[in-house]
Amino acid sequence: MATADLDVRRGAPAPKDRLVNDFSLQVATVNGSGSQSSNLVLLRTIFQMGIPVSGKNLFPSNIAGLPTWYTIRANKNHYVGRKKEVDFLVALNAETARDDVAALEPGAAVLYDEPLRLDALRSDLVFYAVPFDRLVAAVCPEAKLRKLVRNMIYDGVLAHLLHLDLAQLENALRRHFRKKPKAADLNWAAVQAGYEYASQHLPKRDRCWLEPMQENAGKIIIEGNAAAALGCLFAGVTVVGWYPITPSSSLCEYLISYLRAYRLDPATGQATYAVVQAEDELASAGIVLGAGWMGARSMTSTSGPGISLMSEFIGLGYYAEIPGVFFDVQRVGPSTGMPTRTAQGDVAFAATLGHGDARHIVLLPGTAGECYTLALAAFDLAEEFQTPVFVLSDLDLAMNHWIADPLPYPNGPLRRGKVLDAAGLERIGEFARYRDVDGDGIPYRTLPGTDHPAAPYFTRGSGHNDRALYSEKPQEYVANMDRLGRKFDTARARVPAPVLERDGAGEVGVIAFGSSHFATLESLDQLARQSGLHAAYLRLRAFPFNQQLRDFVARHRRVYVVEQNRDAQMLDLIRLELAANPGGPADLVSRLRSVRHYDGLPVDARSLSDEILRQEAQP
C-alpha cells in the first residue's frame, strides 16, 4: 500500500494507486441522529452495483447521544469481514472526530462537517469539507425535518467522490422509503444537493473508487437475525416465548412480522402460531419446554444473560428429553458488560449448560445464509433427539447486513422424530417412554392428548426408569444416564458436518466457526500471498464433533483454533474431544494452538494473520 507518495493536496491519484472496490468507509456519528438510512442506502447502492460489500454498525448501549460508527467495506475479493484500517472517514460526530481522524493511516480521506475544521489536524490525509447545514436548509424548508434528511447529504457527496451509480442510488433510496414517497422525495433532494455541491467544490483527491461488477447477481442482502427468523418460519415453528435483549430481540421481532404476514390461515385469518413476550427468560424457557413437551416446534431467542437464567430449565430439558430451540445471540460480558459488542463467549457454557452431567447439541452458523439453514436444522434435530438445541449466533452476524445466496426452500417434510400416535402404539404393543428400542439412545414419545391407554406417562427429570416411573434405583439411574450418553453420540453423525473451506499444504490448519468465517478466509489469503503460508481451513458447524475434526487435526502439524473469546473455549472443547477419544497420533492435543480475539469488535483478518505468523515464528 504505497501511500507515502500520495500528494494529498493535489488531484486524483494515478490509477495504479487507486483502491478500486477495495476499501472501507466509516461514518462516525451520534446514536439516534438518524444516519442509519443514509448508511443502508449507501450499502444497498454498492450491492446493486454488483460489488461485494458488508456493513457493520458499531453502536453504544444507549438510545441517543453516544458515539456510533458505521463501516461499509467494499471488496472485490469478497473480503467482507471487518478491516481495521479505515480508508474513508465521514466525520460527523464532534465528540470523537479528533480521535477518529488521529486513528487514520496516512493517505486516508475525511469528509467532514465544515464547522468541525478537521483539516487542520493532519497534513497527510485528504480532507473534504461539506457545509451540511447550509445544504440541508436549501432543500428542506421545514426546519423540523432537517435533522432527518441532513445525513442523506453525505450519500450525495460520496456518490460523486466514490463514483456511485446514481441510478442505483436513487433506486436504493426509493426502495428504502417505499412506504413513504414524500420522505423519499425529500431525501433524494438532499442526495442531489450533496452531489451537486461535491461536483462543484470537491475535486476527487482520495484513492477510493467504486466500479460496477457482476458479483451479486441473484444474491440477497440480509441480517443474520432476519435470516434466522426466516429459518424458524420455514421450519414451521408454532410456539415462541421470548424476552427482549440486545442483540437477539430483532430475531423474534423479525419472526413476529413474518408470522403475521405468512402464517395466518387464508380462510379464517387465524394464526397457526403463538408468540408470547414472557416476563423474563426463565419464563421463556418454561414456555419452550411446555410447548415442546406438548409436541409443538418451540423456540426462544436470547443472549448470554438469558442463557444464564435458563440454566435450570434447559438442564431439565436435557434430562426430561424435551425438544426446544434456543437461539443465543452472543454479546460481551454480563448484564452490565458491553451489550452492544460482539463475542463468541458462550460456546463452552452452552455445550454443557446446567448443573450435573449434561451435553447439548450446539449449532454454529458462520454466515447469514446459515443462520437460516441451521435454524431449519435445529428444529429437526431438537425433535429427532428430543432435547434442547442451541443455535449460537453473535451480534456481528445477527445485526449486521451480509450478502448471501437466495435462501433455499427446505426439501422434504419436517423431521418430527419418534412420536407415537394411537395407531403407532397399537402397532408396537408395549410403550416405554425412555427405552432404547433402536439402539441409538433415542426413545419414543407420545404427545399429551393421545387417546390410547398406553400413551400417558409422567414427565420428570432424571429420577425415573425406562417406563417413566419414579425410581431411585442405582442401576436404573445409570442405565438411563448411559442411554442419554448414547443418544448424544448418535448426534455426532447427524449434526451439520464441518466444512473443509480450504485445503492447504499439510503443515498448518486453521479451525474457525461462526462470524469469524470471513476474516478467516481473508487471513488465509493474506498468509498465502504475503507469507507463503498455505493453510487449510476447517469450519465447524456443530457440537458434538465428528471424525472429520479429528482427521483434520491429524493431517496437520499445527492447528490454529480461531475464536472470539478470552478463554479459548472452542479450543478446550476440541482438546477434550481429542483426548476423550484416543486413536491416531498421540500428540493430537498438542498440535492445537489458540488464536483469540476478545475486544468486543468483530475479528479482522489482519489480527488473525499477525497472530498466526507470530506463533509460526515460535518453536
Partner: protein
C-alpha cells in the same frame, strides 16, 4: 359392587393415580381425592386433561390422581410458564396445575402474577400449608406473622394473600377452600374446571408433619415430646384425614393434628363474586384476621382468556400438518426477491 359410572361411562377408579407417598393425614391427599371426584363427576376424558406442577410435596401430588392423564413435574416455582407453553401448543386440552405455597408464594410469585395477568385457562391449585413440607418445615411466604419454627425462628413477615394478589393481577376466578371440606372443595373444583380462564384456588391444606404450633400441648406435640432431638424430624406419626362440612355463611372451627384450631368462614350464599372492587375489599378486611374466609371471591366469566386473544386456529398448534405451518415455496421466493 361395581363402581358407579359417570356420563361418559367411566368409573371413579379411572380417575385415580398411583399410591400416594405423602404423609398420612396430609391435606394434599384429600385434595387429590377431590380432584378425582370433580373430574369424575364432570365426566372429563382423562386423556383430554394434563397435569402440571412445580416442586414440593404438593407438586408431587399430580402423580396421585388421573394416571390416565399426562403429567409434568417441572421445576420449583416456574410451572406457570410450562403450563403456558403447553396450552399454547394444544389449546384443546384442560390443564390442572398443582403448586404449593412455597412453590407459588416464595420462589414462584413472579410467574404466578404473570399467569394471573395472562388469564391462561388453567386451574391453578395452591395446596397451602404455610411451610415448605418437602424440605422439612421452613416458612413460606403464606406463613402467619408471628409463627414459630422448631428451631425457634419466628416469622416476622406478613403473609401474602394469594387470593388478593390474584385478583390484583387480573385473575378471573379466585377462590379459597379447605382440604377437608369435601363438599365445598369438590364444588369449587368443578366450577374451576368449567371456567374459561385462569382459576386460582388457594386451598388450605395443613401439613401434619411440620406445621405444628410449639405452644400446643395436644396430640402431635405430645408425640414430639418423646421424640429424639435429631436434626431432622425422624418419626412421622400416622394421622387420619380431617374433614369438615358446614353451610354457606357459617363459621366452623377445625381442630388440626397439632392441636391448634383453624376457624373457617364460608361466604354467604348471596355474595356477588363478579364485583372486583368488593372482592378486594372483602379480602383486605379479612387480611391478617383470625378467621379464614372460604368460597369463590371473584369471578369474571366474560373476560376473554389468553388463548382467545391470540386468535389461534382451533386445532392444536402442536400437530398441525406440515403444509399449514411451512409457507409454500412461492413465499420464500417473494421474500428472496425483496432482499435481492
Amino acid at each position: 359392587m361395581p363402581d358407579r359410572l359417570n356420563h361418559i361411562g367411566l368409573a371413579p377408579a379411572d380417575y385415580r393415580g398411583s399410591k400416594t407417598t405423602l404423609c398420612a393425614g396430609c391435606g394434599h391427599n384429600a385434595i387429590s381425592e377431590r380432584i378425582i371426584d370433580a373430574c369424575f363427576e364432570l365426566g372429563l376424558q382423562p386423556h383430554r386433561v394434563v397435569k402440571l406442577s412445580g416442586i414440593g410435596c404438593s407438586s408431587k401430588s399430580p402423580a396421585y390422581f388421573l394416571s390416565r392423564s399426562f403429567g409434568f413435574n417441572s421445576v420449583h416455582g416456574r410451572m406457570p410458564s410450562v403450563a403456558t407453553g403447553a396450552l399454547l401448543a394444544n389449546r384443546t386440552l384442560r390443564a390442572i396445575g398443582v403448586s404449593g405455597d412455597g412453590d407459588t408464594a416464595s420462589i414462584g410469585i413472579g410467574q404466578f402474577i404473570h399467569l394471573m395477568r395472562r388469564n391462561l385457562p388453567l386451574v391453578y391449585i395452591v395446596e397451602d400449608n404455610g411451610v415448605y413440607g418437602l424440605t422439612k418445615g421452613q416458612f413460606s411466604a403464606t406463613a402467619d406473622e408471628g409463627q414459630k419454627l422448631k428451631s425457634g425462628v419466628v416469622n416476622q413477615l406478613p403473609a401474602l394473600d394469594l387470593c388478593a394478589m390474584a385478583i390484583e393481577s387480573g385473575a378471573t376466578f379466585v377462590a379459597r377452600s379447605f382440604s377437608g371440606d369435601k363438599r365445598q372443595l369438590t364444588q369449587v373444583l368443578k366450577a374451576a374446571l368449567s371456567h374459561q380462564g385462569v382459576a386460582m384456588l388457594d386451598i388450605i391444606s395443613p401439613c401434619v408433619t411440620f406445621n405444628d404450633q410449639p405452644e400446643s400441648t395436644k396430640s402431635y406435640q405430645y408425640v414430639k415430646q418423646h421424640e429424639s432431638p435429631v436434626h431432622d424430624v425422624d418419626f412421622i406419626p400416622y394421622f387420619n384425614d380431617i374433614t369438615v362440612d358446614y353451610e354457606p355463611g357459617a363459621v366452623t372451627d377445625v381442630r388440626l393434628h397439632d392441636g391448634s384450631h383453624l376457624r373457617l368462614r364460608k361466604l354467604d350464599r348471596d355474595y356477588d363474586p363478579t364485583d372486583r372492587r368488593s372482592a378486594l375489599g372483602l379480602l383486605s378486611n379479612a387480611h391478617g384476621g383470625e378467621e379464614v374466609l372460604t368460597g369463590v371471591f371473584y369471578l369474571a366469566p366474560e373476560k376473554p382468556d389468553f388463548l382467545a386473544g391470540l386468535n389461534l386456529v382451533p386445532e392444536p398448534l402442536a400437530t398441525l400438518p406440515d403444509d399449514r405451518v411451512r409457507p409454500p415455496q412461492s413465499v420464500l421466493e417473494r421474500i428472496n426477491a425483496s432482499l435481492a
